[in-house]
Symmetry: C2
Subunit: 460 residues, 2 copies
């Protein structure tokens, strides 16, 4: 297929006028100035730097023929200063951009419309309000690098609408270091707001590396319903994956590798019907699972009680604890309702000397089954004491040995658990407790390193 | 505008072939046989009876130019025997049909697609599985009459999809007598199923008359989220409006007039975040508000605990009670969780001799404020005893007199309550307790009678 190639830098001598029309909301002028792109077109940006330019890429591609905006040489088209990019339409692909030390009261890159994709791009440093903000539905952000935001507000923000779930996919990105902000607003990723939190976002966040995301306690702040966080690696982050508002999220097959960094942690749970399975948490200092108490008659901005959540088939090792905080935050900020109807099943908790297994008091109707612990004082019926026989395997993870009592020990029936953290299928019965099922099937999911994620051009 | 008029009875000598193609799922044959209707077309059915015919009305109109299928003389086009009608497309209007004593394993009329309307039609008697079944979105069923179903399964069924709320509007219909079925499955209306119950239907059910709908205890069985039941009249029904599954429904400004019929009742509440305001309940024998206990770790088919529901500004008079059952069903079917975080505010409860005000024991963190009761023994802090001075007004409703202590007595702040049951605006402060705000504004909502609803031709 022969693609028409348009050099935007030549065509858009009109760019400042376009920007002015965009800022003024002048739709007619925008339409007049915008190149008439057709499905299948590719716009190639000449290498160079766009200084203080508001770029708008607005077009309508099709599934078979998307419209592409890409750098002539990936990484050599730079947006700098107050430059911004709006991607607005359908089936648009943007690739190869570098946004560097940008600044502005809104977002550096905005994605609107549906079925758009930002890939192979990097946003490094700067003080935009957000680096990236996603509206609309069915868009994808993949193989990008985001790091070094020094201003307040989340690096990556998803806007959730009442009418339609977002269904975005965010995958294979490298979220690089973000320094501590020293106050609320240092999230690396936030999906929704409290006011949007009862709507379904259904965003899939998978196979991303969160690398020293130290902005605040919430690495990810999930503030909407039915998001899936799957097979991500949280490496040396001074924070926790936080289900802050909203219900029915899934956290499956993630690695939390804290290396005993101050502030490193696992998962905070607020809200209802969340499912947390197959996660591996090692060396965190701030606790593995905080199941949070709620405010009676909670407003959207407050704390809903954790209810009907499932925490199963997770492995926590070599961490300070608490491994499970049973009523996190009880009594503070009006939180009087202890978590209720929580299922804690088939987890492995290997506690080092001086570590804390459980903290607090459980609420009504918890179900405990099949949990095994080592190293902690006996006495809590929720976890049977056993010698778990963890050994360091070649890939660096602690796994129970073949003769560990964890093998084949799982109790109850959890049809939602189809695989283990390696992506290996779980059998129909006699499941292993913890995130690792002993299996000879190929390993599809490993802790991610920088080489596995982000733009290819940044690694060459 | 000149409309092409097509007499379907002449055109569709092919009708049996069409029906055969439809049953066989033969899309090509269906397309060949179906008249090519254009936006703005009207298909007029000649008066007469369709016996054992499967009619399919499939077309695509537009908002400005819907496509109409109507009876030459309203009420004189009869579908009988095993006849069925499928309305499938967009912006289609069907009017003036009479479906009489129909029979079949599925529904008499199916509505699929979006923005379709069934109006001025009647379905009387018969044993279809459902009289009417609605898929899709944004359709309207209005000014119809449905009565006399003698088989199991709901008269009126809405199918809820995960991806998109239905947003149907069901208004100004007359749901006439349905005899007791003697078992579950006698609902007059059901919105969703347990398996669909966590999805948003957002169907608006307003200004319908439910008249001796005695099929079973659930007149309406709400099994989806965010439905609105507004300004309906439940007249002499041996049942209750039941929020059986799902969350966040609103029940506002309805009249429940039981006339002391056996089995007559008000509202059953199961689930979370429902809002019940401005309802008038008189002469019911089976209780006014049943706030239902839940099953720990409830499955979708069981009973979720009632939580964070608001019952405010309702009036209950001359009923046997309980006026409020605080933990309905506790202990039965595994229901161990008492309703929690319930707000009961500014209701008027006038209890006759021998009536019961409250039954059961409240769960955690209920809020009680501004409720007034008369006739019941003192002792429950939730309702202050007062002489409410109800008098029968010209429109037949019991209203507090001008010097009733209910006037201006409401406590707390309920911004959701903007009007009273008459449709008169509520002031910014000093609201009256109960469903009636003293006001000189015009009355927009009254108890419905047969003359107010259903097809015009049925009343002439």
């Amino acid at each position: 297929m022969k693609l028409p190639v348009v050099f935007l830098s030549a065509l858009l001598a009109a760019a400042p006028a376009l920007a002015a029309a965009y800022r003024a909301g002048n739709a007619a002028e925008l339409a007049r100035l915008t190149p008439k792109l057709q499905p299948g077109d590719a716009v190639v940006l000449a290498d160079g730097t766009w200084q203080d330019q508001a770029l708008v890429f607005r077009a309508h591609g099709t599934e078979e023929k998307p419209i592409t905006l890409r750098a002539a040489t990936p990484g050599q088209v730079v947006l700098a200063g107050k430059s911004t990019l709006v991607i607005d339409g359908d089936w648009l692909v943007v690739s190869g951009l570098l946004v560097k030390n940008g600044d502005g009261p809104a977002e550096g890159i905005a994605i609107k419309g549906s079925h758009n994709r930002l890939t192979e791009s990097a946003m490094v440093g700067g003080t935009y309000k957000h680096f990236l903000r996603l509206w609309g539905t069915d868009s994808r952000v993949d193989h990008c690098y985001f790091a070094g935001k020094t201003s307040g507000e989340p690096t990556f923000q998803v806007e959730v609408a009442e009418a339609t779930p977002n269904r975005h996919r965010v995958d294979h990105n490298h979220f690089g270091p973000r320094p501590p902000l020293g106050r609320n607003g240092g999230e690396t990723m936030r999906l929704g707001y409290s006011g949007q939190s009862m709507w379904n976002s259904r965003t899939l966040v998978e196979q991303n590396l969160f690398d020293r995301c130290d902005g605040e306690i919430e690495i990810i702040s999930s503030k909407s319903c039915e998001n899936i966080y799957r097979e991500n690696t949280f490496l040396d982050c001074a924070g926790m994956l936080t289900l802050r508002h909203g219900n029915r999220c899934v956290i499956d097959g993630n690695f939390f590798l804290g290396h005993h960094k101050k502030g490193s942690g696992g998962i905070r749970i607020i809200g209802e019907d969340h499912v947390l399975v197959n996660n591996y948490i090692e060396g965190v200092e701030n606790g593995a699972f905080w199941i949070t108490s709620g405010v009676p008659h909670s407003q959207l901005v407050q704390y809903f009680q954790a209810r009907r959540c499932t925490i199963a088939f997770n492995t926590v090792v070599d961490s300070k604890g608490p491994y499970v905080d049973l009523d996190a935050g009880i009594g503070g900020s009006g939180r009087l309702l202890r978590p209720a109807e929580i299922t804690v099943a088939n987890n492995l908790f290997a506690v080092p000397p001086g570590g804390t297994l459980f903290k607090g008091t459980e609420g009504e109707y918890w179900r405990w089954m099949g949990n095994l612990s080592s190293g902690a004082p006996a006495g809590h019926a929720g976890a049977k004491v056993a010698d778990l026989k963890f050994t360091r395997s070649a890939d660096g993870l602690l796994r129970p040995a073949a003769d560990s009592p964890a093998r084949g020990s799982a109790e109850g029936n959890f049809p939602v658990v189809k695989n283990d953290i390696d992506g290996q299928p779980r059998p129909g019965e006699k499941l292993d407790a913890g995130c690792d099922q002993s299996s000879t099937a190929p390993i599809a999911n490993r802790p991610l390193a920088a080489a596995d994620v982000g733009p290819g051009w940044l690694k060459r």
